[in-house]
Symmetry: C2
Subunit: 145 residues, 2 copies
């Protein structure tokens, strides 16, 4: 724990120089607030997994969706899917038959969000191992927790 890691200040100074010439992104306050709201919307594990599952399998029933997501309780699946329905990401179609049949599918909005996340899936595919290695390397030093 007490290990203070001091990285080369040179590298940081180098970074500063690089950044200096680049007015990176205009920090638009109202846009920022909007992005923030959306972040709080989708920054949820189950939401992302449901989104991915529906993106891949199209129209699925409740139980099937739970299987696809994996490791999710009925409670959380219901909650997540309701929230997504509320936000216009999925449609929930109830067939009043016995036994009940409820099908979930992405809306256009949902599909567009899935497409937006596509870049993240690709990142995961390409850099996932780097994260794992970084984590293990750090774990042997930090020893935190």
């Amino acid at each position: 724990m007490g290990t203070v890691l001091v990285r080369s200040a040179n590298a940081v100074a180098e970074m500063r120089k690089k950044m200096a010439g680049v007015p990176p992104k205009e920090t638009d306050p109202k846009l920022d607030a909007l992005v923030r709201e959306i972040i709080e919307l989708v920054a949820d594990k189950w939401t992302m997994l449901v989104l991915e599952a529906l993106e891949e399998h199209g129209v699925v029933r409740f139980t099937r969706l739970g299987e696809l997501v994996g490791g999710v309780s009925q409670k959380m699946l219901t909650k997540t899917v309701r929230q997504m329905e509320r936000d216009g990401l999925v449609t929930r179609t109830v067939y009043p038959v016995i036994p009940p049949r409820v099908e979930y599918a992405l809306t256009e909005l949902g599909h567009s969000l899935g497409a937006a996340f596509c870049g993240v899936w690709i990142w995961a595919e390409e850099h996932g191992d780097e994260v794992m290695r970084a984590r293990e390397a750090f774990g042997r030093v930090g020893a935190a927790k």
Copy 2:
């Protein structure tokens, strides 16, 4: 809307290329597991906000970072930033001076993740209002809770 972040076009084009060789909807189990791990990594509100803050402002100190993120407690900021450091997303540079000076910056890996999320920011910009409207419309009907 037209004035979107410039880097977006490049990032998206880059991703299209990388996707070209990939069979679209194949459910690869090991790839899926990897994506799942990454999701659990980044599906966190503060992580995303810190990522965005560092992406926009470059190298910042601890307190400044807290201001940029906004509404985060010192405890959670420390925790989040430590986790990101552990995962190789940020560097933490400590200057052993008085008063202490600690600077945070994205690593290459962190920047690449930020670029991957760029598509999501754009989505938020384009479809954020739709979500808000869908939510309010649903609220008047659902009346749940």
